[in-house]
Symmetry: C2
Subunit: 201 residues, 2 copies
């Protein structure tokens, strides 16, 4: 702000809030005021929830999901089909597919995609873990549910090459996913249909 | 979510985030994931900043501003003109006027406006405090910087009536403020110009 009108604590809070995705300086101020005005109903529980998340949330060492348990709830769920591993770029994609209830297998979160421009190579992604998991007994299919972007498809191609020689089928989501589209923005019906119509890679 | 795929802690965090102004369920999930992915750089400092705000931010007993001191930084600033009190609806309006550096006086935050429909009467607003402050020696002008809405103008009219008999001039912001517009959305130049061209009520 142009003058020192709010205490350093509020200024700091606004500055941090403005770094959240989708929030600019103006909306960060609105959020800060809303929090201060709703101290008991919102600020206090949200501060606690963030502290809880900070202390308890871990990355699953098996699949890369985030959860309060490692291995995560999905990896340890006995009702899940151990034979299918669905490969996604980010945890947000995993959540999107789960909301669609499209998959009853497990997941593998790459943590991104290969990108020559951004200098992201295979070692920067969780690919070795995937190859290890794909070689485990009982695993029969790897579904490549990466985004329909150039980098996503490059990554899918690379993984397919790496999986050659293993006794697993490799499939990808059907072309219900719009070209250039990101999974996290798709409606649940499209995601479910795309998964059902998945084809061999 | 449709299935129990994220721990209760994350689900709770998402649910609270979705109650922030401007965030829906989808953007709340994005924000939660962004926080979890940036634990050290964002989640931890933001959790601390919120706890600080929860513990330290108070409402100024004099003007209704929020700050970490009571009376607030503005009320105790010796460089401010004690003669002018600028009446605003909400703290966000005070911040907007401060960003415009339009006013070198003090403020009085009503905490809303009179509204027949919402059943908000004079006793629900911080009006008695304003009348007391307006009667203090040295106060020469009350600037009614309420929004140019019907309820805002009703409130301005009510306050003007209550101030009759006191030795203070009552003014309002010039008609640079668009009809129906809210102060917090205006650019700083318009706000500064509107304040400079304020006229007697
Ligand atoms: Zn897992
Ligand atoms: Zn004050």
């Amino acid at each position: 702000m142009s003058r020192d009108i709010v205490g350093a604590e509020i200024e700091h809070l606004i500055q941090l809030l403005s770094r959240l995705p989708g929030l600019g300086p103006r909306s960060a101020r609105r959020v800060a005021l809303h929090l201060i005005k709703n101290r008991d109903k919102l600020l206090t529980p949200l501060a606690s929830a963030m502290a809880e998340a900070r202390d308890k949330v871990v990355t699953c060492s098996q699949c890369g999901n985030v959860d309060t348990a490692d291995p995560c709830t999905i990896c340890t769920d006995p009702r899940r089909d151990n034979g299918i591993i669905c490969v996604v770029e980010e945890v947000g994609d995993l959540w999107a597919l789960e909301r669609a209830a499209a998959i009853n297998g497990r997941y593998h979160v790459l943590g991104g995609v290969l990108s020559a421009i951004e200098g992201i190579g295979p070692d920067d992604l969780n690919i070795e873990g995937l190859i290890r998991r794909a070689a485990e007994p009982g695993v029969s299919e790897i579904v490549l549910a990466v985004n329909a972007t150039v980098d996503g498809q490059t990554t899918a191609h690379y993984i397919t090459e790496r999986l050659k020689g293993l006794d697993v089928a490799v499939s990808r989501l059907a072309h219900g996913v719009p070209v250039g589209g990101e999974l996290d923005y798709l409606d649940e019906g499209t995601l479910a249909a795309a998964f059902k119509a998945r084809r061999p890679y």
